[in-house]
Structure formats: structure tokens, C-alpha cells
């Protein structure tokens, strides 16, 4: 077995296990920590696919920013909730599991008649310079639109989460 295969399977198991933990643990804080592991695993998968820039972005945005946001949200809302004990395996959740298993079955079915290995591992490399070039030329408009979207999301998030004036 080649090293790449070993790494792939290791990363697959890592992400699957951490992902399962992230959505199934009782303590929300533990979920968040499992989520960090999951995001890091995804970043590692990006690295193994030679998408180094994307892996770095994944680390910065998800492990760095999104998890911090989630931790903050948990800490801001946790104290009174008191229902952390609710298990994802309780009766009401059964349909959720059935639905997601059905979706998995659907995806598996559609992957089963994939044409025999359409491509094979290349040493395809996109340098940071290439990405910068592409962002400024072919993808300039999506790039600008995304920047507007991010600004809007930022402002919107602040407005939504802002403490309402006491006077109301």
C-alpha cells in the first residue's frame, strides 16, 4: 500500500470520526472541539490534494475564525439552556437519521455508475501567484461580489446581534 493511500484512509477516518463526534456529542462544547478536528482534517485533505493555498485558507477561516464564532455563540447562549443532555439518538431524531441515510444512499447510488476512473492523480499545481492572477482577471467580478457580500454579512451580523436599545 502506498503512502498516499495510507494518508487518504487515515484522513478519511479522522474526518468521519471527528465529524460524527461533532454532531453527536452531548456536551456542546465538546462538539465544538470535535469540529475543530474536523475542519483541520479537511484542511489536511486539501493539502494532500496539493491545494496548499486552499488548505491554508481552510485553516485560517474555519479553524481560526468560524470555530471561534461558534465557541462565542455557545458561551453566549449556554448558561440557561440546560438541555445539553438531549441526545441526537432520541426517538424524535430517528427520522433525521433515516433521511440522512437515504441521502447517503442516493449519493452512493449516483456515484456507483461513475465512469471508470475519469482522471488520475496529477501533480497539478496552482501557485498563490496563479490564484492572485485569476482573482484579478477572470474571476474579478465574482471576487468583487464576494467582497460586497462579506461586507454586507458583517454589517448584517452586527446589526442582528446588537443589543436592542433599552428604551423599547
Amino acid at each position: 500500500m502506498k503512502l498516499a493511500t495510507v494518508i487518504f484512509y487515515a484522513l478519511s477516518i479522522w474526518t468521519m470520526v471527528s465529524g460524527l463526534l461533532a454532531v453527536s456529542m452531548r456536551n456542546v462544547m465538546h462538539c465544538a472541539i470535535a469540529l475543530i478536528a474536523f475542519f483541520a482534517g479537511i484542511a489536511a485533505i486539501f493539502f494532500s490534494l496539493h491545494a496548499e493555498f486552499l488548505g491554508a485558507v481552510q485553516l485560517i477561516v474555519y479553524v481560526g475564525a468560524v470555530t471561534v464564532l461558534i465557541l462565542f455563540a455557545i458561551m453566549l447562549t449556554r448558561d440557561v439552556t440546560g438541555f445539553e443532555g438531549a441526545s441526537p439518538f432520541s426517538g424524535g431524531a430517528a427520522w433525521g437519521w433515516i433521511a440522512s441515510l437515504a441521502v447517503l444512499g442516493m449519493l452512493a447510488y449516483s456515484l456507483s455508475d461513475l465512469p471508470p476512473n475519469p482522471g488520475f492523480s496529477t501533480s497539478n499545481i496552482l501557485t498563490v501567484a496563479d490564484i492572485g492572477q485569476a482573482l484579478m482577471t477572470r474571476y474579478a467580478i465574482p471576487f468583487e461580489v464576494i467582497s460586497i457580500l462579506l461586507t454586507a454579512a458583517l454589517v448584517g451580523a452586527v446589526v442582528i446581534a446588537m443589543e436592542e436599545p433599552k428604551g423599547k
Partner: protein
Amino acid sequence: MPTLSDYLVLSAILFSIGLAGALTRRNTIIILVGLEMMLNAANINLVAFWHFLPPSPTGQMFALFAIAIAGAEAATGLALVIAVYRHYRSVNAEDISNLKG
């Protein structure tokens, strides 16, 4: 060597895990976590296609944009959670049923 379909299967599994999280948990924050996981699984698809079907950079660029959008989504989503929490004193999705018909 792992092939393209290996990555696709992995991404399908991770997507289903994320979906299961979004469907089964009652804590709104964990529902958002599930959504983020689904987005990440989709990104694996994009990057895998980029890696195995060169030379267009589109796959990576799209993944990049998806990450940016997911970041925006997480920020607004969590802000909404906090606003909802302030209103209902709860983040339990089952307490928030104003849509009830």
C-alpha cells in the same frame, strides 16, 4: 493511490454526517455546525475535481468562493442564533416554532 471516486465517496459520507447533524440536533448552533460540514464536504468535491481533471483552476476558485460565502453564512447565522436566543431565551430549535401552520 486514492482515485477521484474515493474522494467523492468520502465527501458524500461527510455530507451525510453533516446533514444528520442538521436534522437530528435540537441546538441551533449544532445545526449550523452541520451546515458548515455539508459545505466543507462539497468543497472536497470541488478540489478533488480540480486535482484530477486539470488544468482549469475553476475548482479551486469555486472552493475559495464557497469558503468565503460559508464564512459569511456562519457569521450571520450565529448572529441570528444570538438574536433568537435573546428573544426566546432558548437556542432549542423546537422552541422556535412561530412558523407553525
